[in-house]
């Protein structure tokens, strides 16, 4: 059984470069990839520009954002000991999205970097609000309650912003942002998100043993030396950095943080520490494959990646329900 799990994880790891190859081969223009590789980064040939400046950063961003969302989802489910938890539950995604919406709403920014930076700030503020609302030494259930309250408030503000959008154009901008996209992104977005995702991953790496201890219960975790505020804060801000920066560059992409840890949990023997990295790997793979699907869809309007991940996520829950009913009837 253990060997099987390792084989599946190895297969997943091997699938990532293959998916990367599929992503680099997908696009509206047919290019000679070996020739573009030989031409190199600085070449002016169309194929080289398309490969190095358009397809590669997009694929790398899909991996980065997918990994961050998977990582954030696994950490959230581990900390709250709730398999239905995801980064959106504590308002991380909503905080980032609201900040982005306010930028788009007022449309007064001439520098493109302001939007992602404010989105990251929005995610951090949302987490800080949840933490303050839950109070010192809050239990998982109180954190969830505080998160639901903050998330509901942020969602209401987003609805209000949509309601009073100054123009149809602003409204469309907000809606498209909420659907997520990797189109037209370049290395600047990758370089913007990368340090924040790495900081978040580092925070979560340092809290892996806390998540393991927490799986035994809060009292046990406390007795094992994981009491106090330090570790929960580390997890929360780790999620805020990783997920907030992802939302900042790609908009809100749902379901990855929820579905991926579910899929990976049996493969890592319910270990929350190992689940983090397995979810990061699977999240990266899933989002990259979803983007390959987007790239191969022809139409006047771009198919938004958030819509694709929602279509993947919803049937997964149907399957979970059917599986649960089957097991109950046995």
């Amino acid at each position: 059984m253990l060997a099987n799990r390792k084989v599946i994880l190895t297969l997943l790891a091997c699938a990532l470069p293959l998916a990367m190859l599929a992503a680099l081969s997908s696009g509206p223009v047919s290019i000679d990839i070996p020739a573009a590789i030989v031409d190199g980064w600085y070449s002016d040939s169309s194929d080289a520009v398309i490969l190095w400046q358009l397809r590669l950063p997009r694929a790398v961003l899909a991996i980065l954002v997918g990994a961050a969302l998977g990582l954030g989802g696994a950490a959230m489910q581990g900390m709250l000991r709730n398999p239905l938890a995801e980064p959106a539950l504590l308002g991380v995604s909503s905080g980032a999205a609201l900040a982005a919406i306010l930028v788009l709403y007022y449309g007064a920014v001439s520098i493109g970097l302001v939007l992602p930076l404010l989105a990251i700030l929005g995610a951090l503020l949302a987490v800080a609000s949840v933490w303050l609302l839950a109070g010192r030494g809050a239990s998982a259930s109180r954190l969830v309650l505080a998160g639901v309250a903050i998330n509901a408030f942020l969602s209401a503000l987003m609805a209000l912003a949509l309601n009073y959008a100054p123009s149809m154009f602003a409204m469309q901008e907000i809606v498209f942002w909420l659907l997520g996209s990797l189109a037209n992104r370049g290395w600047d977005q990758v370089l913007l998100a990368l340090p924040f995702v790495l900081i978040g991953a580092l925070f979560l790496f340092f809290s892996r043993n806390y998540l393991r201890a927490l799986s035994l219960g809060e009292a046990s975790a406390s007795s094992l030396g994981f009491g106090g505020r330090r570790y929960p804060l580390l997890v929360l801000f780790g999620i805020a950095f990783a997920v907030g920066s992802s939302v900042a560059v790609a908009g809100t992409i749902g379901f990855i943080g929820l579905v991926v840890p579910h899929l990976m949990r049996p493969l890592v023997g319910q270990d929350p520490g190992r689940l983090l990295w397995a979810s990061a790997l699977a999240g990266a793979l899933l989002l990259l494959l979803a983007d390959v699907l987007v790239l191969n869809t022809v139409g006047t309007q771009e198919l938004r990646i958030g819509a694709v991940t929602a279509f993947i996520g919803a049937p997964f829950f149907f399957w979970l329900i059917v599986k649960g009913r089957r097991e109950a009837s046995l």
Partner: protein
Amino acid sequence: MNKYRDILRGLRLLSSIAAVLLMQGLISAPAYAQARIASLNLCMDQILLQWVAPERIVSVTWLSGEEHYRRAPLPEHVYLNRAQAEELLPLKPDLILTGQYGAQRASQRLDQLGLHVVRIPDAYNLAQLQQQLASLQQTLGALPELHQQRSKLQSLLDQAPEAAAGNPGALILSANNITYGDGMLEHELLTRAGFNNLAAQQGIQQLGRVSLEQVIALQPQLLVFYGSDQDFAIAHLAERHPVLRNYIDTGSVYRLPQELGFCPALAAVEVLQQLMEKRKEIVGQP
């Protein structure tokens, strides 16, 4: 006594000449040259605000109050309507302008109530634009700017270069990676200015999607953006991508004004002229 009779006769003669001249003036002048005009259409709003004396305008749509659409100063006395019949009735306008689409119910209701509603056709190509300008002139009279716009358009179309395979290629990259193909006014402006619209050559009819990859692969000599570059917008993210920096640095770009999209009558002539000049720069000959 005779002297007074002569003066009276002279005065009668003068007054009858004046009456005849006045009648002639009334017949030849547009019916609404002195009228109070209202509009139920954003494009008509902007035309009125730019070309008609402010005291003749009684109402325009609320959209014209928005900075996003406003192209001319909005006089304080002008009422901003939301295309509701009951808003315009108390204003008692002599003429209500409306577009081909939109505000249909309000315009029908006002028409039924006896107000004079004139539907000005929309313009989706150059022929329709000429019809629109003619229709406006017929309704509003010989406004100097309107007349100038019509004759300038005709003159530019007369001197437009022949469509040829050797013409420089141009491609429109609009919001959300939308491009304009065959059958659109933007396509006609490009081709009449002496460019080959690469989107149309790719078989795009009306609107289509163009990715940055296609822009790089097609290598247009002129990249045409659409709309304002003032503020950041996700829809215009493609324009800011580093792969297009070379186009911007070498000046191989042109930006279509936003009003071309919602009121070509105000912008088409200037756009055509500027595109022709841009072509001269690219081709390097008159």
